[in-house]
Symmetry: C2
Subunit: 254 residues, 2 copies
Amino acid sequence: MSVTSTGPEKRTLADDAYTDLKSRIMRSELAPGAKLSIDGLAKQLAFSQTPIREALARLESEGLLARRPLSGYTVAPLLSTAEFADLFDLRMMLEPLAARRAAERATGGDVRGRAGARSTPASGTGAAGPLETDDLLAAALTPPPDADKLLFTEADRRFHNEVAALSGSVQIEKAIRRLDAHLHLHRAYIKPESIEETEAEHLAVAEAIVVRQPRAAEEAMRRHLERSRTRHAAAFSAVNGETAAKPKRAKAVR
Amino acid sequence: MSVTSTGPEKRTLADDAYTDLKSRIMRSELAPGAKLSIDGLAKQLAFSQTPIREALARLESEGLLARRPLSGYTVAPLLSTAEFADLFDLRMMLEPLAARRAAERATGGDVRGRAGARSTPASGTGAAGPLETDDLLAAALTPPPDADKLLFTEADRRFHNEVAALSGSVQIEKAIRRLDAHLHLHRAYIKPESIEETEAEHLAVAEAIVVRQPRAAEEAMRRHLERSRTRHAAAFSAVNGETAAKPKRAKAVR
DNA sequence: ATGCGGAAGATCCTATAGGATAGTGTCGCG
DNA sequence: CGCGACACTATCCTATAGGATCTTCCGCAT
C-alpha cells in the first residue's frame, strides 16, 4: 500500500468511478445482489456512461460484480458456506507462506549489513523499502474498540495486504489481495469482542516478522487464520437464515 | 473447460472482442509490448470503440495488457527471469495441491457407489461431472510432434486447467488459470524434443489422479513442474539476449 | 553533433443519441 | 379466480462526434 506509491499518476474518470465503486462495495454501502444501473450511476456521479462501463468491466473481472449480458451488473452475492471454506483453504495456503517470506526478507530494526542481501536470488521481485517494518507494526494495530466497525475491517485488510506486500512475491501478493477483496462483507459480521483477539494475533505475526523468525511468523499467521476462520464461522451461522432466504430485493442504484 | 459449459449464453460485441483479443495474445500474434490502438481495433473488427474499450479493460484487469492512462494499451511485456521464477514458485504451491485434491475427488473408471460422496463437505464447490477423468486423459495427450507448436502450447494449457478444474476448488482453479495465462509466450519457446517428455509427465499425473492416489498425483505434478521449469529456463536463457535489448518497437495494431 | 522548444498529427477520453432487448404491468380469456 | 398474451417502459448495447492530451517531428541554438 504505502510501499507501492509510485507517484501521482494520471487519473481518468473511469479510474475515479472504479475506486469509488470499489470503496462503496467494501464499505457495504452496496449490498450483495444490489443492482448497478449504468446510467443511474452516470447521473449520480455526473459523468457519462462510457467511463462507468469501463469501471464495471474491471470490477466484474475481479469478481466483485456479476454481469448478465443484456440485463445489467449486480454486486457479487454473499459467499456460501462452502465457498467461504474454499476461500479460506487458499488463504491458509498463501498467507502463512507470505508471512514466512516476509520474515526472511525483513530488515530488522537493527538494519545495517544489507550489502550481501538477496539470499534467494531466484525468488522475490518486490521492491520493499528499508523502513517496511514500521508500516507493518502500524498496520497491526487495530483502531479502538469504540470506533466504527468499518475502521476495523479496513485495518484488518490493510494488515494482511501489508504482509503480502512484504513477501517479496508480486504473484503471491496479487493472489492474497484478490482473496481479501472477497471477504469485505464477512468481515462486517465479526463480533466486537473479538477485535482485541485479532489485534493480539496480528501483533504476534508482525513481531515474528520484525525479529526475522520465519517459522514463527508462518505459524503465527496460520494460527491467526484458524482462529479467524472459527470466529467468522460463528458470526456467519448466526445470520445464515437471513442470507439463505431472498431478501426481497436489494435496493438498486437509481 | 468442457465441464463448465453452462449453455449458449448471450454474447455481446464486447465479449467477442475480448475472446478474440485474448486468443490473439495467447497465439502470440500480438507480441509483448505491441501497442493496441483503440480505434485501430475498432476499424479492424468493424465494431465501434465502446465494446473495444470494455474488452481492453477486462484484459488489463487480468494482467494480460498494460495501460498508461492517456497513452494507450500495450500487451504485457515478457516476464523477467525473476518474475518467471516468482510465478513458478506459486505454481509449485498450487498445482500439486490441485492434483492431490483431484485424485481425492476422482471418480475412477469403475464408478458406481457415489451415493455417500462429499467426503469433505466443508471444502469443494466445483460441479465436476462423472465422466471427468475421460477429459483429463484426453487432455494429457499432446498432439503429434510434427504438428504446429501452437497446438502443443494449447494442449499444455488445457491439461493444467483441467487438473485445476478437477480440484473441486473454484478459488484454486481461478488462481491457476490466471497464472497459466501469463505463460503463453514462454511456452512458445519450448524445444520440440521436450514435447514427448512433457506428454509422459502429464500422463503420469493423469494416471495417478484416475487411480485415486493423491500423494502420487501431487508428487508427479511437482516433479513435472520442476522439470518444466528447467526446460523453460534453458529455452529462456537462449533467447535472453534478444529480449533484454529493446526490439525497436513491436508492431502495433493499425 | 547534440539537446531543447514548439507545432502538427494521431490517439485517447468523454459525451450524447438511437436501436435492441429484458422486465413489468395490464388486459382478456378460460 | 388463475393464467397467458400483449404492449409499454426502463435499461442495456452500440455507434458517432468533439474536446483534451500525448507523441512525434522538425527546426534552431549551443
